[in-house]
Symmetry: C2
C-alpha cells in the first residue's frame, strides 16, 4: 500500500463542476475503441497479424494512435474522457498498457479521466480494485484516473475502500443506478415496497454518500459519490434525481444508443448543474456516416453534441426551481 | 471478431463434474496475490523499487513465481483455479500479463480456469468483455479461461454475449446471486414480493439459463450457467439451491472469510454434485500461521481443505433426497 496525496484539495465534484463552467460543456467523450471500426488509414496496421500471437500489440498501437487524435480534437469541447475498459481488455495486457497511456494523454489535455470499470467486489478485493483505479502506484491507472464507475449489488463494502482512496486525492465514484440497456428493467425495476429497485439503490447511494462522504457535502457542494443513470428513460431519471439531489449524474445512452439531449433534461439541477453526458460511438465513429477526413468528422460530432447538450443545460440554468433538498 | 471452436464438445458443467469425480475434490484454489504477503524469499524481489516506475514489473514477476509454485503443489488437490482480477489489476498492464501466464500454467496443470472478474455491462460492451474472457484472441485471457463470474444488475443483456462465446467452446459463467460480504444484504435482501432480492435473481438466472442455454440442459446434465453463493449464510444457500436445482454453485467465503465446510452442505445436490468451493487466503498464505517451508504449508492447507470438503460432500452423496425438479 502506497500512501499518498496531500491535504485538503478541491473535491472531484468541485473540479468537475468547475470544468463544466469553464468549458461551457457537460460532454464526456467515451473511449470505446473497436479495432475493426478504426479509420481506413489505421485499419491496415490494426489488422496486421489478426488471429496470431502478437496481434494484440499491433492492434493496441493502432488504437493508441486513433484515440490520441480523437482526444486532441475533442478535448476542447469536453470535460472528461470515459475509458470503457472492455474494449481495452479485449486486447489483454497490450490493451491495458494502451489504456494507461491513453488516460495519461487525456489528463495531459486537461480532461478529467473516468475509468468505466463497473467494478463491484467484497472486502480485500474491493480494496485492491480501489488502489488499482484510484491509487498512487506508478505505471498503473491509479495516478491518471479521477473517478471510477461501480456496481451496487454488493452494497457499501464495495464503496468504502474506493472512498478511502478517493477522498484525500480529490477523486470520486459513480455508482450504477439505472442503466440504459434494454434488459435493465429485469432486475432494476423489480418492485420493492411498491417502488422500483433502482429507486432504493438511489436512496442507498444517498445514504452511503452522506455517511461516508460527509466532509464533501459541506455548504452548497455536490457529492463526489455520483450515480449513473441512462438517457433513454427520462421518467426514471427524474426519480433518481429526486432521490439524489446532491449527486453528480453520469448519463450514458446519449447518441448511438438512441437518447436525445432532451431526454437528459430531467437530470439537471437548477442552474444547469450536476450532470455530465457521455457520447461514445456517435463521436468516435462519426466518419462512418459521412465523407471527408475522419478526424474532422469526429471533431464535428463532438462540437454538435456539446452544443445540443448546452442548449438543454441552458434551459435548466434559467429554471428557477431549485430541487435541492 | 475471430470465430472459432469446433462442433459439439462436453459442456463446461460436464467437464467440471468430471473433474470433481476424477479428483475426488470440489476445491477451487483462489489466486488473490497480495504482493506484500509473499513469502520471505520472494518478498525482496517483490519490493524492489516500491513506489517508483518499474515496480509493477518486478512485483508481477514475483507474483508469477509465487503462483507457479502454489499451482504446482495444489493442482493435484483442486479442480480449478479462480483468478481474482483485482490483485492483478493493481499491478496494471504487468499484472494483466502475469494473469495470463498464471492462467496458462493452471490450464497446463489440468485445472479449469475461472476468471473472477464480476463483469456486468451493456450491449456492445458486454460483447467485448465476453470476447476478452472467453474468446480466441491469442495473448489474451480468452484462450486460457473456462469460465467467468458475472454481475446480474444489468440483466440478461450482460449474460447473452458471454453465452454466445461460451457455448461452442465448452465454457461457462457464474452469476453472482448471494455474496459472502457483510454488506451483501443491503441490496441483495431487499424484499421483492416478500422474498429477498437474491431469490428473484436466482429465479432469473434459472430463466436465463433455460432460455439461453437450453441445449446444455438435456437429460441429467447440469447447466453451465452457474451461480455464486457465499458460504457464510447457509440458509440463503438453501434458498438459492431450491431456485437453481440444475446449476453449478461456486461457493466463496470458505476459510479465511470464516465459512466452514459444514456451511457449504446445503449447496450440494444429491450425489454430492453441483458444487465447487473456493479457498483463497487460507491456502495461499497458510505459511503465515506456521513454521517450516512455505510451500509445504500451502500444500498442507490445500489438502486439508480438500479433505474437509470431501467429508461434507460424501455425506451429501449418501443422501437419498434428490432436490432436482
Amino acid at each position: 500500500m502506497i500512501s499518498g496525496a496531500g491535504a485538503a484539495q478541491p473535491s472531484f465534484a468541485a473540479r468537475l463542476e468547475a470544468a463544466v463552467q469553464a468549458k461551457k460543456s457537460c460532454l464526456v467523450v467515451g473511449l470505446d475503441p473497436v479495432v475493426e471500426r478504426l479509420p481506413g488509414e489505421l485499419l491496415g496496421r490494426a489488422r496486421q497479424g489478426t488471429g496470431s500471437a502478437g496481434w494484440t500489440a499491433h492492434a493496441a498501437v493502432a488504437v493508441g494512435l486513433f484515440l490520441r487524435e480523437v482526444l486532441r480534437v475533442t478535448a476542447p469541447h469536453a470535460v472528461a474522457a470515459k475509458a470503457n475498459l472492455a474494449f481495452f481488455e479485449r486486447l489483454g495486457a497490450a490493451g491495458w498498457d494502451c489504456l494507461r497511456r491513453v488516460c495519461e494523454e487525456a489528463k495531459d489535455l486537461g480532461l478529467l479521466v473516468i475509468a468505466d470499470a463497473k467494478r463491484g467486489d467484497v472486502g480485500s478485493t474491493a480494496e485492491a480494485y480501489a488502489e488499482a483505479f484510484l491509487g498512487d502506484i506508478p505505471d498503473t491507472l491509479g495516478p491518471v484516473t479521477d473517478a471510477v464507475t461501480l456496481n451496487p449489488y454488493l452494497g457499501s463494502d464495495n464503496l468504502k475502500p474506493f472512498l478511502r482512496w478517493a477522498r484525500p486525492r480529490g477523486k470520486g465514484v459513480f455508482v450504477l443506478v439505472r442503466t440504459s440497456n434494454p434488459s435493465a428493467a429485469e432486475i432494476q425495476e423489480l418492485p420493492v415496497d411498491r417502488k422500483p429497485l433502482f429507486q432504493h439503490v438511489a436512496a442507498k447511494v444517498r445514504c452511503w454518500s452522506e455517511e461516508l462522504d460527509a466532509t464533501l457535502l459541506a455548504g452548497d457542494e455536490l457529492s463526489s459519490v455520483g450515480a449513473v443513470v441512462g438517457a433513454l428513460t427520462p421518467l426514471q431519471s427524474q426519480i433518481v434525481r429526486a432521490e439524489l439531489p446532491r449527486a453528480f449524474l453520469l448519463v450514458p445512452g446519449y447518441g448511438a444508443q438512441g437518447g436525445t439531449a432532451e431526454d437528459v433534461a430531467p437530470c439537471f439541477l437548477a442552474g444547469g448543474r450536476g450532470v455530465i453526458v457521455n457520447a461514445s460511438r456517435s463521436v468516435l465513429y462519426a466518419y462512418e456516416k459521412q465523407d471527408g477526413p475522419w478526424l474532422q468528422a469526429v471533431e464535428g460530432a463532438a462540437v454538435r453534441a456539446k452544443q445540443e447538450l448546452e442548449a438543454v443545460r441552458w434551459k435548466s440554468r434559467q429554471s428557477t426551481v431549485d430541487s435541492r433538498q
